[in-house]
C-alpha cells in the first residue's frame, strides 16, 4: 500500500494563484495532484469522488471584492450543491490556505462546531495593521489538537501574505468551544518566549487574530484552514535565514512547510486508500 499515491484536487481560477506550488508540494509529499479550473469542477462535481484531498489554495478569488473569500465561498456553497460536505462526510480531507481558509470560514466549513458546515461562525477580517503584509512568522502547532494536518509539526516558521487574516469569533461561546475542542490547531508565537503571542504582539501576531490563532480545524480534525503558506516553504532555501541555518548546521533537507502537506497525504494513504 505504501507506494499508492493519494489524489489531491487543486481547484483554481477567478484570481486564485497558488496552484503551481501547492500541486508541486503535494507531489513532493507523495500524492498525485491535479490543477482543475473551478468551473470544470462545478460542471461535474462528481469528479470529487476521484480525490482524497481537496486543497483550497491562496490567491485573490474574485479580487477579495466585498470580503475576502466571500464570493468564492458562495460559488462553492451554492453551485457545488453540497458536494464538499459530502466529501467531508466520506472521511476525506479538506485544507484551505490563506484565501482558501478565508473561503472556508465564509462558507462555514470551519470551525463547523456540531458539524454545522454551512453556517459562518467565525470570520477572517482586516488585519489590525490595516494593510496587506508579507512576512515570516513563528508558529506552534497545538499538540493536543485532533488536527490531522498539524501532527508533530511543533514549532515552524512560514510566511504570511494577507490583508484579511484577523480571526474573530461571533457571539456566544464559539471561541470557548474552539478552545475546549482544541480546534485551534496552529498559533502565532513570540519567538523570544516560545509562547503563544499576545493578540497585540505585532508583528509576532501579524494581524491581531483572537488568541493568536493562525489555523483552525473542524471537530473531525480532517478539515483544516491556515493563514500562513506551508507551500511557500518547500525548498530549504525558501527560509529567509537559510544561510545562517546552514552555518549552524540546522538547514533541513527539505522545506519544513512540506510537513503539513505530508501529514495530509500520510493520513489519506493510511485511511483512504
Amino acid at each position: 500500500m505504501a507506494d499508492k499515491r493519494p489524489r489531491v484536487l487543486v481547484p483554481t481560477g477567478y484570481g486564485l494563484n497558488c496552484e503551481e506550488e501547492t500541486a508541486y508540494g503535494y507531489r513532493l509529499a507523495g500524492a498525485d495532484a491535479d490543477i482543475v479550473h473551478i468551473n470544470d469542477v462545478i460542471s461535474s462535481p462528481k469528479m470529487l469522488e476521484d480525490y482524497h484531498i481537496l486543497a483550497l489554495i491562496g490567491g485573490f478569488a474574485d479580487g477579495d471584492h466585498i470580503a475576502s473569500g466571500k464570493v468564492h465561498a458562495n460559488r462553492l456553497k451554492y453551485r457545488l450543491g453540497g458536494a464538499i460536505e459530502e466529501f467531508i462526510e466520506n472521511g476525506k480531507l479538506v485544507i484551505g490556505v490563506c484565501n482558501g481558509f478565508q473561503t472556508m470560514v465564509k462558507y462555514g466549513l470551519l470551525p463547523a462546531i456540531d458539524n454545522r458546515y454551512r453556517t459562518e461562525t467565525v470570520t477572517l477580517t482586516y488585519n489590525d495593521s490595516g494593510k496587506f503584509e508579507d512576512r515570516w512568522v513563528h508558529l506552534l502547532a497545538n499538540s493536543d489538537s485532533k488536527c490531522v494536518w498539524t501532527r508533530n509539526v511543533g514549532a515552524i516558521s512560514l510566511p504570511v501574505r494577507h490583508g484579511e487574516g484577523k480571526l474573530r469569533a461571533g457571539s456566544g461561546d464559539v471561541m470557548e468551544t474552539i478552545v475546549e475542542e482544541k480546534l485551534d490547531a496552529l498559533h502565532y508565537i513570540n519567538p523570544h518566549t516560545q509562547e503563544i503571542a499576545k493578540e497585540s504582539d505585532y508583528p509576532y501576531n501579524p494581524n491581531g487574530s483572537a488568541m493568536s490563532i493562525a489555523g483552525l480545524c473542524d471537530p473531525t480534525g480532517r478539515v483544516f484552514g491556515m493563514m500562513p503558506h506551508w507551500e511557500a516553504y518547500l525548498s530549504p532555501y525558501n527560509h529567509p535565514l537559510w544561510q545562517r541555518l546552514r552555518a549552524a548546521g540546522k538547514l533541513p533537507e527539505q522545506g519544513l512547510g512540506l510537513k503539513i502537506g505530508m501529514n495530509g497525504v500520510e493520513y489519506a494513504r493510511e485511511k483512504l486508500l
Binding site: 474574485d62 471584492h65 466585498i66 508579507d134 461571533g170 535565514l241
Partner: protein, 1006 residues
C-alpha cells in the same frame, strides 16, 4: 428603483481602515478628528424586493461576525463623506458584486455599472471646512471620483440621494470627414485640438496622402462614402496619430541626430537606438546563443536552459500616475504583465519589479495647481502596484524609490515583469508567432470604454494642468487574471497563432501591428463589446481600456477557442480577419470608416532630424570643513530619504507567491534590511535561479549624463555580482534592460539641444559600457517628455513655470546563478570575519548624497563636479575575481556601496548581521583629497565590502591578486561600528542598533 446596501462594523468591532485614516488625517493635514469610521455602500440598479435585499445582505454583503447593515443616518458622527467613482470609471468591485448579485437574485444585472460601490467616512469633532479639505485632499481624486460631504442634520430619514448613474449618452455613432486641404496653421490646430501630437511635417505627409489620386480612386472603388474622398475620416486620422505617436514609434530615439561636442567636433548619429543600444546587443547576440530575441517582440526573450525561456520587459507609466496615482500605477503593472503575455506565443508573468521617482513626501510648501502632494502620489502608486501584483499572484522581486523635488511634478513609475514559457509549445518554438491571412482577429478580455483614450498621444506630450482626464484608466486585476489563465490554457491547446497586447493605441495598434504579418486586415468596430453606449467609432479603435489582448485564430479553431473562453468566464469576440490586401480596413457595420495603405501607415513618414549641443557646466566645488562628529553625520546619512529603509511599503508587496523566492528583498538576521539584489529559483525542482538587480542615479545627470549612465550600468552589474552570479559569456547568462526617462520639451531651443546632447551622452555611455562589460540589452523603453508646465503665483503675479525631471536611466540586470545555494547576501555573518574593500575609492563626491546633505545643512545647493567614473577594465578584473571567490564559498557577505559610500554600506552590513565592525580608513585604497569624510561617503563605482572567514583569508587574497583591494578591518562581537580615521584616532564609534533605528525611522509608517 435602485437600492442601497450600507455595511458598517458592529459596535465594538475595530475598524483598521478608519483608525489608520485618522492617523493620516493628523499627519498629513494636521487635523485632529475625534473619530473616523468607515462603511461600504453598494448601490444596485435593479428592481429588488425587500426579501431579496435582505438575502443579499445576509448572504453576500454583510459579514455576520463583525458587520451589520445600517442606514445613512445611523451611528454617531458629525460629517459623512461618501466617495464614489464617476460614471464610466472602471470599478472592479462593482463588477464582481454585479455578477454575484445577478446569480443570487436570478436577475439580469449589467456587469458594467449595474452595481456601483462607494465608501463612507464618518468623522466627528471637526468643522465643515476641515471635512471638505479631507474629502478633497485625502479621500478623493476629482479626476475619477465624486465626493459628497454632508453634515449629520443634512441627511434625511430616507438617506442620501442616489446619484444618477447612467452615462446619459445616446448611441449615435458618427464618423466625421476631416478636410486636410488647409493651411499649415489649420493643420496644427487639428493636431492640437485632437490631442494627436502630430508635427507639421507629419500632418503634411498625411495631407498629401489624402490628396493622392490613386488613393481617392481606390477609396471610391470600395464604396467609401463620397464625403470621405480627398479627406480622411476621424477614425483614420486617429489611427495614424496612434501609429505615429512617440510612445509607439520612438521617433526621437530613431531620429537622425546632429551632435556637437563642447569642443565643436560634430558627429551625425544615424539613430541613437540603432547605433548605441541595438548594435552592441546584436554584436553580442552573435556570440551568446542564449539570447533568443532582443528588441523585436513585446519583451526580450532569453533561453535559461532546462526547456524554459524567460521573457522580460520594463515599462513606465509616468503621465497617468501623475493624474491618478492609483489608476496610473495599477494599469502600469497590469500593462507590462500583458507585454509578457504578448511575448512570443505567450509567456506567464512570474516576477514583478518596480521603481519609483517621487517628490519629497514631507513637502510642506504650497502645491501648484493640478499637482497632487508627493505623499499622495507615492501612496497611490504603491497601492496600485501592490494591488495589481498581489491580486495577479506575481511575486515582487525588486523595488526601489528615488526622491528629488523635481519628480514631485512628474513622477516616474517603472513597472517590470519577468515571465517564463516552455521553449517549445506544441512542437513549435515558443518565441515565434505569426498571423496568417484568413485568421480571425479576436479581442479577448475586458470591454471597451472611454477610459484611456489618447493615452499614447498624451504621454507623448508634456503634462500640464489641463491634461485630459480621459487618459486615466483603472486596472482590474481579476478580469486580467482570468484572461491570462485562459490564454495560457488556449496557448497550450494550440488554439491561436499569434498574440499581442492592447496597450497604447488600443485596437489600432494591436491589430495594426499584427496585420503587418499578413499585410492587411478587415475588422468591424460594431462587433466590439462596449462597457456602455455612446462610443464613437474612433473612440472604439483607439480606446486604451485595459485587460485586453488581441489574438489571431484560425477559423477552424474559433469554436473551441470561444467555448473555452466561455467556460473560463472570459469574453472573446472576433472583430474581423487578417488579410493580404495591403490595407488596414475598418468598418462600422456596413460602412467603411478607415481604409489606409499599410505601407503608408508604417513606413510613410520621414525620420526626425534632431540637433544636440553639449556644453559642460563648471560648478563651484563645495568647500567646507570636515564635520567633527562623523558618527552623527553617518546617522543623518542613513536617515536620508534616498538611503533610508522603505520596509513599510515594501512589505505590502507579496514577494513569495509561487514559492520560488530565495534571496528576498529583505535579508539579515531580522530579515529587515534591503538586499543588493534578489534571487528566485527558475522553477520547482531546479537548482538554478535568476538574479535581479537595478542601477539608477538621476542626480549624477546634474553633472554629466555620460557618467550617470556609466555609473548605473556599473551599479546594476555590481549588485548582481555581489549576490553570486558571473559576468556573461557564451555559457553564463547576464542581460540588461534600459529605460530612459528624459525631459525633452521644445526640441528647437538651446535648452532642447542641450537636453538632446544629454541623451546622446547617456547613449554613448550605454554603448561603451555594454560593450565593455559584454552585457547585452534585450529590451528597453523610453519616455521622453517628462516635463511639467504650469503656473505659479509669486507676489500676486502669475508666472509660467516649467519643471523638467533630471534625465534618468534605469539599467536593470538579470543573471542566471547556477546554484542558488551559493548566493551571498549583504549582512555580516560571523564575528572574527575579515572585512575587505574591493576596488578603488576616489574623492568622487560630485552629486553625492553627502554633498547634498552638507548643502542642505548650509541651505545651499551643493553638487560639485567630480562625478564617479567607471574604469571597466579594472572593474571586470574585480568582478571576475569576486565571482570566483563566491563560487568557492570563501565569502560570508558582499555588499555594494552606492549612495553614502563605504560609511553607509559598512553600517548596513553590520546592523543587518547584528555584529559590529572595526575598520581603519588608512587601509582603504584611496586616491584624492585626504579627508575621512570623503573616504567614508565618496560614491566611487566598482567597489564592494566583503567579509571573509579568517580561515579563508589567504585563499581569498590569492584570488583577488592583481586587483585593488585591502583588508580594512574585522567583524566584532561588540555591537559597535568603530572606524579609525586617517589621523589614527577613532572617528566613528556608534551603536549599530542606533544606526539601524536612524535608517528605519524616516519612512516608518509611511
Amino acid at each position: 428603483m435602485p437600492s442601497r446596501i450600507i455595511v458598517g462594523f458592529r459596535d465594538g468591532e475595530s475598524d483598521p481602515l478608519g483608525s489608520s485614516l485618522e492617523k493620516t488625517i493628523r499627519n498629513f493635514l494636521g487635523i485632529n478628528a475625534e473619530s473616523v469610521r468607515t462603511r461600504r455602500v453598494y448601490t444596485i440598479y435593479a428592481d429588488l424586493g425587500r426579501e431579496e435585499i435582505e438575502s443579499l445582505e445576509k448572504d453576500l454583503f454583510v459579514d455576520p461576525v463583525t458587520e451589520c447593515s445600517v442606514r445613512d443616518i445611523d451611528g454617531r458622527f458629525d460629517w459623512l463623506i461618501e466617495v464614489e467613482y464617476k460614471p464610466g470609471v472602471t470599478n472592479p468591485v462593482g463588477k464582481t458584486a454585479a455578477e454575484a448579485v445577478s446569480r443570487m437574485v436570478n436577475k439580469e444585472i449589467d456587469i458594467e455599472g449595474g452595481v456601483s460601490t462607494s465608501l463612507q467616512y464618518l468623522i466627528s469633532g471637526i468643522g465643515r471646512g476641515e471635512a471638505q479639505a479631507i474629502a478633497a485632499r485625502l479621500l478623493s481624486n476629482q479626476v475619477i471620483e465624486n465626493a459628497r460631504v454632508l453634515g449629520r442634520e443634512e441627511i434625511g430619514a430616507d438617506g442620501i440621494p442616489i446619484l444618477q448613474q447612467d452615462m446619459g449618452m445616446e448611441h449615435r455613432p458618427e464618423v466625421k470627414a476631416v478636410d486636410l486641404a488647409v493651411s499649415d496653421e489649420k493643420l496644427m490646430e487639428i493636431s492640437r485640438n485632437g490631442v494627436l501630437a502630430l508635427s507639421l511635417a507629419e500632418m503634411k505627409v498625411i495631407q498629401k496622402y489624402s490628396q493622392y489620386g490613386s488613393v481617392i480612386k481606390e477609396r471610391e472603388s470600395i464604396g467609401m462614402d463620397s464625403q470621405f474622398l480627398g479627406k480622411l475620416t476621424d477614425v483614420e486620422l486617429e489611427v495614424v496619430a496612434q501609429t505615429q505617436s512617440e510612445h509607439c514609434k520612438h521617433k526621437i530615439f530613431n531620429g537622425i541626430v546632429n551632435y556637437a561636442e563642447q569642443n565643436g567636433v560634430v558627429e551625425v548619429i544615424d539613430g541613437l537606438f540603432g547605433t548605441c543600444i541595438k548594435a552592441p546587443a546584436r554584436e553580442l547576440m552573435g556570440r551568446y546563443k542564449w539570447i533568443i530575441s532582443a528588441f523585436d517582440d513585446n519583451a526580450g526573450i532569453v533561453d535559461v536552459g532546462g526547456g524554459i525561456v524567460v521573457a522580460d520587459k520594463i515599462e513606465t507609466h509616468n503621465a497617468p500616475s501623475a493624474l491618478d496615482p492609483y489608476g496610473g500605477a495599477i494599469t502600469g503593472i497590469l500593462g507590462v504583465n500583458r507585454d509578457i503575455l504578448g511575448a512570443g506565443i505567450g509567456a506567464r508573468p512570474m516576477f514583478n519589479v518596480f521603481g519609483y521617482c517621487f517628490g519629497d513626501p514631507f513637502h510642506s510648501k504650497a502645491l501648484m495647481g493640478g499637482v497632487l502632494h508627493p505623499a499622495r502620489i507615492r501612496n497611490g502608486v504603491h497601492r496600485g502596484v501592490i494591488d495589481g501584483g498581489n491580486q495577479s499572484g506575481i511575486a515582487l522581486m525588486d523595488g526601489f524609490e528615488v526622491f528629488d523635488e523635481r519628480f514631485g511634478f512628474r513622477p516616474l513609475v517603472y513597472c517590470g515583469t519577468i515571465g517564463t514559457m516552455p521553449k517549445t509549445v506544441n512542437a513549435r518554438q515558443s518565441d515565434l508567432k505569426k498571423a496568417m491571412p484568413g485568421d480571425l482577429a479576436v479581442m479577448v478580455g475586458g470591454r471597451i470604454g472611454k477610459d484611456g483614450i489618447h493615452g499614447a498621444t498624451f504621454s507623448s506630450a508634456e503634462l500640464n494642468k489641463d491634461s485630459p482626464v480621459q487618459a486615466v484608466q483603472i486596472g482590474d486585476s481579476i478580469t486580467q487574471k482570468k484572461m491570462l489563465d485562459f490564454l495560457i490554457e488556449a496557448r497550450d491547446r494550440g488554439l491561436y497563432s499569434s498574440i499581442t497586447d492592447n496597450g497604447a493605441g488600443g485596437l489600432s495598434s494591436s491589430i495594426g501591428e499584427m496585420a503587418k504579418d499578413t499585410n492587411g486586415c478587415i475588422i468591424d468596430l460594431k462587433k466590439a463589446p462596449l462597457k456602455y453606449r455612446g462610443l464613437m467609432p474612433w473612440e472604439i479603435i483607439v480606446s486604451e481600456s485595459q485587460e485586453r489582448m488581441t489574438v489571431a485564430v484560425d477559423p477552424s479553431k474559433i469554436g473551441e477557442f470561444t467555448e473555452l473562453a466561455g467556460l473560463r468566464g472570459v469574453e472573446a469576440t472576433a472583430l474581423g480577419r487578417f488579410t493580404d490586401s495591403g490595407r488596414f480596413h475598418a468598418m462600422y457595420g456596413d460602412m467603411t470608416v478607415a481604409y489606409l495603405d499599410m505601407d503608408f501607415m508604417h513606413k510613410g513618414f520621414p525620420r526626425m532630424e534632431l540637433v544636440a549641443r553639449w556644453k559642460e557646466v563648471a560648478r563651484e566645488e563645495p568647500r567646507f570643513l570636515q564635520p567633527d562628529d562623523l558618527g552623527s553625520v553617518l546617522e543623518c546619512m542613513l536617515a536620508r530619504l534616498n538611503i533610508c529603509s522603505k520596509e513599510y511599503k515594501m512589505r505590502q508587496y507579496d514577494h513569495e507567491v509561487k514559492g520560488l523566492s530565495i534571496v528576498k528583498p529583505f535579508v539579515g538576521k531580522q530579515a529587515d534590511v534591503s538586499s543588493d539584489a534578489t534571487v528566485a529559483l527558475l522553477g520547482y525542482a531546479r537548482k538554478d535561479g535568476l538574479v535581479v538587480s537595478h542601477g539608477i542615479n538621476p542626480h549624477y545627470s546634474d553633472i554629466d549624463t555620460y557618467w550617470m549612465a556609466a555609473s548605473v550600468i556599473d551599479e546594476a552589474i555590481r549588485r548582481a555580482i555581489a549576490t553570486g552570479c558571473k559576468l556573461p559569456d557564451e555559457d553564463n547568462i547576464m542581460y540588461a534592460l534600459d529605460n530612459f526617462c528624459w525631459n525633452l520639451s521644445s526640441l528647437d531651443s538651446d535648452d532642447g539641444h542641450f537636453k538632446m546632447a544629454q541623451l546622446v551622452r547617456a547613449n554613448k555611455a550605454l554603448a561603451e559600457y555594454c560593450r565593455a562589460f559584454k552585457v547585452p540589452c534585450i529590451s528597453g523603453k523610453d519616455s521622453m517628455k517628462n516635463v511639467w508646465r504650469g503656473e505659479e503665483t509669486i507676489d500676486g503675479k502669475t508666472v509660467e513655470k516649467t519643471i523638467s525631471i533630471p534625465p534618468t536611466l534605469l539599467f536593470s540586470v538579470r543573471a542566471r546563478i547556477e546554484d542558488v545555494s551559493k548566493a551571498v547576501t549583504m549582512d555580516v555573518k560571523n564575528d572574527g570575519d575579515a572585512v575587505y574593500v574591493l576596488g578603488e575609492t576616489y574623492d568622487e563626491l560630485g552629486a553625492s548624497e553627502y554633498f547634498a546633505y552638507v548643502g542642505e545643512k548650509a541651505a545651499e545647493k551643493m553638487v560639485g563636479n567630480n562625478v564617479p567614473k567607471v574604469d571597466a577594465v579594472k572593474a571586470i578584473k574585480t568582478y571576475s575575481a569576486l565571482s570566483a571567490a563566491i563560487e568557492k564559498g570563501l565569502v560570508s557577505s558582499a555588499h555594494t556601496p552606492t549612495l553614502g559610500g563605504l560609511g553607509v554600506a559598512m553600517a548596513q552590513s553590520a546592523f543587518a548581521g547584528g555584529y559590529g565592525i572595526e575598520a581603519d580608513l588608512r587601509k582603504v585604497p584611496y586616491l584624492g583629497e585626504r579627508r575621512d569624510d570623503y573616504i567614508l561617503f565618496s560614491q566611487s563605482n566598482s567597489r564592494f565590502i566583503v567579509t571573509v572567514p579568517s580561515t579563508k583569508c589567504s585563499e581569498f587574497e590569492g584570488m583577488m591578486d592583481g586587483t585593488a583591494y585591502a583588508r580594512i578591518g574585522t567583524v566584532t562581537r561588540s555591537t559597535r561600528l568603530k572606524v579609525t580615521g586617517l589621523g589614527g584616532t577613532v572617528v566613528i564609534d556608534s551603536d549599530i542598533q542606533a544606526l539601524k533605528e536612524s535608517w528605519k525611522g524616516t519612512l516608518e509608517g509611511m
